[in-house]
């Protein structure tokens, strides 16, 4: 990025109007991917000078144990519903989960889910890191996920969405090919980096379950209705859109929410067969398909 400048220089302006429609594999109009956050939150993390981890003195019992619900209960509830309706996950992973609860990572891997890095812990922030420190967490992420799953990570969602001005250049240099940290478009776009070939993968804060429930204060059924409206709109627009559903099992996997959410998956899955509009897929597959189409054109 252009550090210190008014325009960070992340990408070229490209208005939505006038773009050439294209189809996803199988002649589908909208690529749908689900991004479960598989996270580990430390109970007593060290302090980062730029951001506090927990609102309460440690242990912040409610906030920390709420998130731990994912690794004891709700991961499986969420994952079962996804598998039942044919949705793989593209996991935003606190890579230390590979050490703390390898069973959760193994479950996701066996379901055919893709992994990208969400930092070491969601309680360790990148703010204030120097270049060597940031390289260390990228290298740690690549090695940890490879050792635990055999997969080589391709994407990055900054830990707790904390960045430095170098992050995008560094992940591109290490060969990662998509970032989930930019929210400027409903289609993948090229990102300007010093080296490498990085694209922005449409993720979403707006329909993230955390925003749905705690920013917009939606009921479970209102959130389900929101996802269906988001899907219907993106499927109806000129072909080649992306819809991401970012989830936290400790939120969507609560017993009052999972039923309405399952109705969303049924709705989208019913539009994914022959002649349907939905390509239910993973983030890496979207990156590959987008590159295949746009490299041919270029």
């Amino acid at each position: 990025m252009n550090e210190g400048e008014k325009d960070p220089g992340l990408y070229d302006f490209a208005p939505y109007r006038g773009r050439k429609p294209f189809v996803w594999p199988g002649d589908k109009k909208v690529a749908v991917w689900i991004s479960p956050n598989l996270e580990f939150y430390e109970i007593d993390p060290p302090a980062n000078p730029h951001r506090k981890s927990w609102a309460m003195p440690h242990p912040d019992v409610v906030r920390q144990s709420h998130r731990d619900h994912a690794n004891r209960v709700s991961h499986w509830r969420m994952a079962e519903v996804m598998s039942k309706h044919g949705f793989p996950g593209s996991v935003s992973l606190s890579v230390a989960l590979c050490q703390h609860h390898p069973n959760v990572v193994e479950d996701a891997n066996q379901r055919g889910w893709e992994f990208f890095s969400h930092g070491i812990y969601n309680t360790r922030y990148s703010y204030g890191m120097d270049e060597a420190q940031e390289r260390a967490i990228i290298e740690d992420s690549i090695k940890t996920v490879r050792d635990a799953t055999g997969q080589t990570i391709r994407g990055w969602l900054a830990p707790a969405l904390t960045h430095t001005p170098r992050t995008l250049d560094l992940i591109a240099e290490y060969g990662l090919d998509y970032t989930c940290d930019l929210y400027h478009d409903d289609q993948p776009q090229r990102v300007k980096t010093k080296t490498g070939d990085l694209i922005s993968m449409p993720y979403s804060l707006e329909v993230n379950d955390h925003y749905g429930f705690f920013v917009y204060n939606m009921s479970p059924r209102e959130y389900a209705d929101t996802l269906i409206r988001q899907y219907e709109r993106l499927a109806a627009e000129p072909s080649g859109t992306v819809m991401c559903i970012p989830l936290h099992s400790y939120l969507i996997g609560q017993p009052h929410r999972i039923g309405p959410f399952e109705d969303v998956l049924k709705h989208i899955a019913a539009d994914a067969g022959h002649g349907g509009r939905a390509w239910i897929t993973r983030s890496g597959d979207i990156a590959d398909a987008w590159r295949a189409i746009h490299t041919k054109e270029a």
Partner: protein, 304 residues
């Protein structure tokens, strides 16, 4: 700019948790629990009965629901009192009508100030859970351990004296504890707490005290007060949860639906009809086992 090198060191990065409070365990992999008479969902209501001094304290932290305006905050002081005088009696009547026994997490101040309320609870067969002194009695790691010990033992003693029976359970204000709390509860003879929300069934801490998770997401405070949803939506969410848990129970064994209630929230006139209808709907569901915390604890203990 760079961070202290220790920020990139992870001495507790290994199998299991980064603390020694309780072991890691996956709910699905445990021996299934069976509730009495083959019931599928233990439906556990916990009413918080609290007294808010008009002189709020913010150390270790200010309790949720506490005074908000400059002194004297008549509006919040009296609105909370409304819950104890009026709303709570609406709830007691609703429980009697539905023939449901519940747990009441009471501040010791309720016993000191309004002992007749405690007798009404006990006479109706409800359980008393110790819930600190009053709403200035918050706990966190910044509270000296000696003060925390005193807060816990005195609260239990006052409630025991008025109720005529010693509470078996403990509920911290806002569920917030210090690293010492579980051991102090053990020392005070408490058998279970309902502060940690990381599970949906009881589990034991390493020191033997059981945690019965009282889901904060399913509380009237969270849904109605924080998220500003209607009582009808709240009721629907409870029924949706109950339906889901009933279906899971067929495969995985007994499930639990914790319903945390606040008299000054759910006990308002315009919300009570929806709540009474919800009680009736829950009662009509075949799998419902209305249970108090102590009943769930006894079942859990007898099956472990």
């Amino acid at each position: 700019m760079s961070l202290d090198p220790e920020y990139l060191e992870y001495p507790k990065r290994g199998l299991g948790y980064d603390h020694g409070l309780f072991p890691y365990s996956v709910m699905e992999e445990r021996k299934p629990l069976a509730w009495p008479e083959g019931k599928s969902v233990a439906t556990w209501m916990v009413v918080s009965l609290e007294w808010f001094p008009i002189t709020p304290e913010s150390s270790p932290f200010k309790a949720p629901g506490h005074m908000q305006t400059a002194y004297p905050d008549y509006r919040h002081y009296t609105a909370r009192e409304y819950g104890t005088r009026v709303g709570f009696y609406r709830l007691l009547d609703a429980f009697a009508k539905a023939d449901v026994k519940v747990s009441v997490a009471a501040n010791a101040a309720i016993a000191q100030r309004y002992p007749s309320v405690i007798r009404d609870i006990v006479d109706a067969g409800h359980e008393i859970i110790a819930h600190s002194s009053d709403m200035n009695g918050t706990i966190a790691s910044t509270l000296p351990v000696e003060e925390e010990r005193k807060l816990i033992t005195e609260s239990i003693a006052i409630l025991s004296d008025v109720a005529g029976v010693k509470p078996r359970g403990w509920h911290s204000i806002a569920r917030q504890q210090s690293f010492a709390t579980m051991d102090l509860l053990k020392e005070a003879g408490i058998e279970y707490c309902c502060d940690w929300v990381n599970d949906e069934l009881p589990y034991a801490f390493n020191n033997g005290v059981v945690n019965i998770p009282l889901n904060h997401e399913l509380s009237d405070r969270q849904i109605i007060n924080v998220q500003q949803q209607s009582a009808d939506s709240y009721a629907q969410q409870m029924l949706d949860a109950h339906d889901w848990l009933s279906a899971e129970a067929k495969v995985h064994g007994g499930r639990m639906l914790p319903m945390h209630l606040t008299p000054y929230i759910i006990g308002l006139p315009y919300r009570m009809d929806a709540f009474e209808t919800l009680l009736g709907d829950l009662k009509a569901r075949e799998g419902t086992w209305f249970a108090r915390g102590c009943d769930i604890l006894d079942q859990f203990r007898s099956q472990m």
